[in-house]
Structure formats: structure tokens, C-alpha cells
């Protein structure tokens, strides 16, 4: 059981994969790390906001592993990783909209966005796209109904309970509140092409 009492479900995802739905309150990154240690390199493991995907093993075997691991890895907080500080120009096209939507001034939005130390919960959507958790609950806003066809590279954005920086110019549905020069993805960086990996911490500073 997860801490809030909801059942952890292992859902078949085709014949050779499973989606572990942790509900609220459990740490997908910790479970993913524990499964990776058990299952090795032949299986693809993708932690996300509330789930862990295991691609390459059928659901019954995945469920057996999850049962054997028990509650401990689901409750352990991720430790280690680096802390990265990112300078932001808070002048995004959705900054005023966000302030109005949240009933705050623009200055209050910037203060609320720069206060926390965020943790990269997982990456997805694009190489180097790090979903950062720890967003001030006052700044939780929905995605746009229709994504922009092109979001500038380096855009600092928020949607639902996460904040992120777009690594390159792609379509995007998040609310854009600023821009940074941080290079989120660089293949020239060798073994660590992503600037922010799961477990790393991030702070934003206004410039």
C-alpha cells in the first residue's frame, strides 16, 4: 500500500510491458531505481509523475517484483544528484496571464517561482526536458488548450504541478513565464548530455 492507503496497481501495457500506477504520495523515481537494480539493462524503465513504466517484461512478473520490493523503495526520497542554478529573464508571453490567473502580481509570481529548490522528478517529452517538482501550489495552472506550434529554446514554463525549461524549439503547451540561456541538452557534453537528470536539484534566480 502507498502511504495514503491507495493500492499500487500494476497494469498490463500490451503483452510485454506494464505501467505501475503509484497513485499519490509514492516516489516513482525511488521505485524505478530499485527496479533498475533488479532488472538490469535489457528492460526500459521510465519513471514519470505518478507511474513507472516497465517495457520488456510482462505485467505478472513486474507485479511480482513490485510486491517483493515492498513499501520501502516507494517511500524513500531520492538522494544525491547535483544542484544547478539557472538565471532567468522573467518576461515570458504568459507571465501576465499567469499572474492574473493566480490572483498575484507579476513580482509575486517571480518571487514564488524563485523561492523553492526544485527536484527533477523525471525526464520525458524531449531529450533534456526535466520535469521539476516543488512548484508553489499557488502557481498551478493548466496547459494551454492548443499548444503553440513553436516555443523558443530556453523558455521557462509551468503547467500543472511542474516547471521546466524547453531544451530546444518544439511545439509546447505549457505557460511560458521566462527565458534562460541554460543549455538543457548538449551531445558534446559526453556521458552527461542532459544538464538536469532525475534526482538533481534546481534553483532559479531572476536577472
Amino acid at each position: 500500500m502507498s502511504p495514503d492507503g491507495s493500492a499500487v496497481r500494476t497494469i498490463p501495457y500490451g503483452p510485454r510491458a506494464a505501467l505501475i500506477d503509484l497513485g499519490d504520495g509514492s516516489d516513482p523515481a525511488a521505485l524505478a531505481a530499485a527496479l533498475r537494480a533488479r532488472l538490469g539493462e535489457g528492460v526500459t524503465i521510465v519513471p514519470a509523475a505518478r507511474t513507472v513504466l516497465v517495457d520488456g517484461l510482462d505485467a505478472e512478473l513486474v507485479a511480482a517484483h513490485v510486491d517483493q520490493l515492498g513499501a520501502a523503495p516507494r517511500m524513500a526520497a531520492s538522494a544525491g544528484g547535483e544542484t544547478i542554478t539557472i538565471a532567468v529573464d522573467y518576461d515570458g508571453p504568459d507571465l501576465a496571464w499567469t499572474a492574473a490567473r493566480c490572483g498575484m502580481s507579476v513580482e509575486e509570481v517571480v518571487a514564488a517561482h524563485t523561492a523553492p529548490t526544485y527536484v527533477c522528478a523525471f525526464c520525458g517529452f524531449a531529450p533534456g526536458f526535466a520535469y521539476l517538482s516543488g512548484l508553489d501550489p499557488r502557481l498551478v495552472v493548466p496547459r494551454r488548450e492548443a499548444p503553440r506550434t513553436s516555443v523558443p529554446s530556453g523558455s521557462v514554463a509551468i503547467a500543472a504541478e511542474h516547471t521546466a525549461i524547453y531544451p530546444r524549439s518544439t511545439p509546447g503547451g505549457w505557460r511560458l513565464i521566462g527565458r534562460s540561456d541554460a543549455v538543457m541538452w548538449d551531445l558534446e557534453r559526453g556521458s552527461r548530455p542532459a544538464l538536469v537528470e532525475p534526482g538533481d536539484r534546481v534553483r532559479f534566480v531572476a536577472r
Partner: protein, 294 residues
């Protein structure tokens, strides 16, 4: 060292192998050949290992000249294959080409993607462990252009096979399994999925096969937190038009997955061309309970 000079590419020609594994945690998708069995067969016909890189050719039109004597094979969508010296080649059969021979593929009358294997493999630069072109992220070699010079890998030292493999016709019906978010949809959606005729949209690509048909209605309207995707997952965005995830699908997505194409049938979706009609059937009873963890 043997090389291929690209003379023409058709609408899209990319280098593909069996994909990029082990980088999902930083958002890098697996990519790789869209029709995996056709890619594997092309390699087998020339005596390559299965993970050698081939050229994936969309709607034919590819042409190249080989610098030295080489063995090639084309599988997948049945293009005509002409050479400037000798008789036309057949899809599904290895053929020896003399030095300087020009090979030219026509437009296939059916199917979408053909695979050209050369003995030794296409020796493009590997990025993060794979030579595949990921058209979503841009990782890997850029799409091929006329004038490109492709190096061919060394002689593999394997026996030269004498297989002949006629092209497989596309499947009449594609098998699907229940998706992890089937319960996010109205009960009628499950039967709509397998009774509708789905038309492949012209906006389909290596990322996904976009289908038009009866709108699939959601029962739950809230946002789904992003979660991992597998190839073959059938995602349904707010407009109700399903998308089948193909080789260049993103690692995560926030639209509910109603069903998953059986991995052994996904090649048939990858061979559908715009305007083709797809049909699905459930691979397994809807009433099979998901395994529960304590």
C-alpha cells in the same frame, strides 16, 4: 572501403537500426526501424547481424551508386528495383552488384516503407549507441540528401544466405490489447475501436499513425499526469482522434492510452499509407483483471 553515393532520396530516407536503448531517463526515445521485421529480414538476406543499419525508404524513389562490388537486399514495401547494369532485382532477395552499379527504387504500389540493406551495414556515426535517425528529437544522422556519401561497414565474415522471402501482405485486422487507461473512456469506446474503419491521415509520420474515424469519447476529462509510452500505444488526444505510437514516439505523454497494438502486428501499421483503412480486434478478453499489487 566500400561506399554508397546517394543520388536520390524520394520523400524521406533515413538510416535506421534497432534503436537507441538506455537513455529514456533523460527523455531520449528509442527510434529505430518503423517496420522491425522488414529491417531484420533485409539484414538477414545479406548476412548482416540484425542490428546493422539499413536505409529506411518512404514511398520509394531512392537511388544510389556503390563504389565497389557489394551484396544488397530490399524488403518491405514492394518497389521496383532497377540497376543500370543487369536485370531488375526482386524485393526480398539478395543481389550482387558490381562496382559502380547504380540502383534505383520506384514508388511502391502498396505499403509505405522499404528497407535497403548492404552487406557490412551502413556505417553512419552512432549517437548514444545507435545509428538511427530520430525525426522527433533530431538525434542521429540527418535525413539523407542527394550527394551524401555513406560508408559501408567491413565484411562481416558470415556465410552468404540464399534465402528468398516474398513480401508479406499487410494484415487485414491488427490485434490490440487493452490500454492502461481504457477506463478513462466511455464504455462504448472499446467497441467503437474494433468496429470502426480507421483511415490513416496524411499527417502521419515516424512519430505516429494518426487515424480518423468515429470520435472516441472520454469518461474522465481531467488532465492525465505524463506517463511512459510504448511503441504501439494508441493515444487519444482531446479531439478524439487516435494516434498509434510508432518508432519516434516521445518517451512520455499526457493523453490516455486506450489500447496497445500487439508488437508482432505493429509492422502492418508502419506500412499503412495515407488513405489506407485500418481495422482492429481485441487480442485478449476485456474482462481479464489487471494484476494487483498489495
Amino acid at each position: 572501403m566500400t561506399s554508397l553515393t546517394v543520388l536520390a532520396t524520394g520523400p524521406l530516407a533515413t538510416v535506421q537500426d534497432l534503436g537507441r536503448r538506455g537513455w529514456a531517463h533523460v527523455g531520449v526515445g528509442s527510434s529505430g526501424a518503423a517496420d522491425v521485421p522488414a529491417h531484420r529480414l533485409a539484414n538477414r538476406l545479406v548476412g548482416n547481424p540484425p542490428d546493422a543499419a539499413t536505409i529506411e525508404i518512404t514511398l520509394g524513389g531512392f537511388a544510389c551508386r556503390c563504389s565497389a562490388a557489394t551484396l544488397v537486399a530490399v524488403t518491405g514495401a514492394p518497389c521496383t528495383i532497377s540497376v543500370d547494369r543487369g536485370l531488375p532485382l526482386a524485393v526480398g532477395q539478395a543481389a550482387a552488384l558490381g562496382a559502380g552499379t547504380t540502383l534505383r527504387l520506384g514508388t511502391p504500389p502498396t505499403g509505405l516503407r522499404s528497407y535497403l540493406a548492404v552487406r557490412g551495414g551502413v556505417d553512419a556515426i552512432a549517437v548514444l549507441g545507435s545509428r538511427s535517425t530520430d525525426t522527433l528529437s533530431g538525434i542521429g544522422p540527418p535525413p539523407l540528401r542527394a550527394g551524401d556519401l555513406l560508408m559501408v561497414g567491413p565484411e562481416p565474415g558470415t556465410p552468404v544466405p540464399t534465402d528468398l522471402a516474398p513480401p508479406a501482405p499487410p494484415l487485414d485486422v491488427v490485434r490490440v490489447w487493452p490500454g492502461p487507461r481504457l477506463d478513462w473512456f466511455e464504455p462504448t469506446a472499446a467497441s467503437t475501436l474494433v468496429t470502426s474503419a480507421w483511415t490513416l491521415g496524411a499527417d502521419s509520420d515516424r512519430v505516429g499513425a494518426r487515424l480518423a474515424g468515429t470520435v472516441l469519447t472520454r469518461a474522465r476529462r481531467e488532465e492525465l499526469p505524463s506517463e511512459g509510452l510504448v511503441a504501439g500505444a494508441i493515444q487519444v488526444p482531446p479531439d478524439g482522434r487516435p494516434v498509434v505510437m510508432l518508432a519516434d514516439h516521445p518517451v512520455t505523454g499526457g493523453y490516455p492510452v486506450i489500447a496497445v497494438v500487439d508488437p508482432d502486428d505493429l509492422w502492418s501499421v508502419a506500412q499503412a499509407r495515407p488513405g489506407d483503412v485500418l481495422r482492429f480486434k481485441w487480442r485478449r478478453g476485456l474482462h481479464a483483471a489487471a494484476p494487483q499489487s498489495r
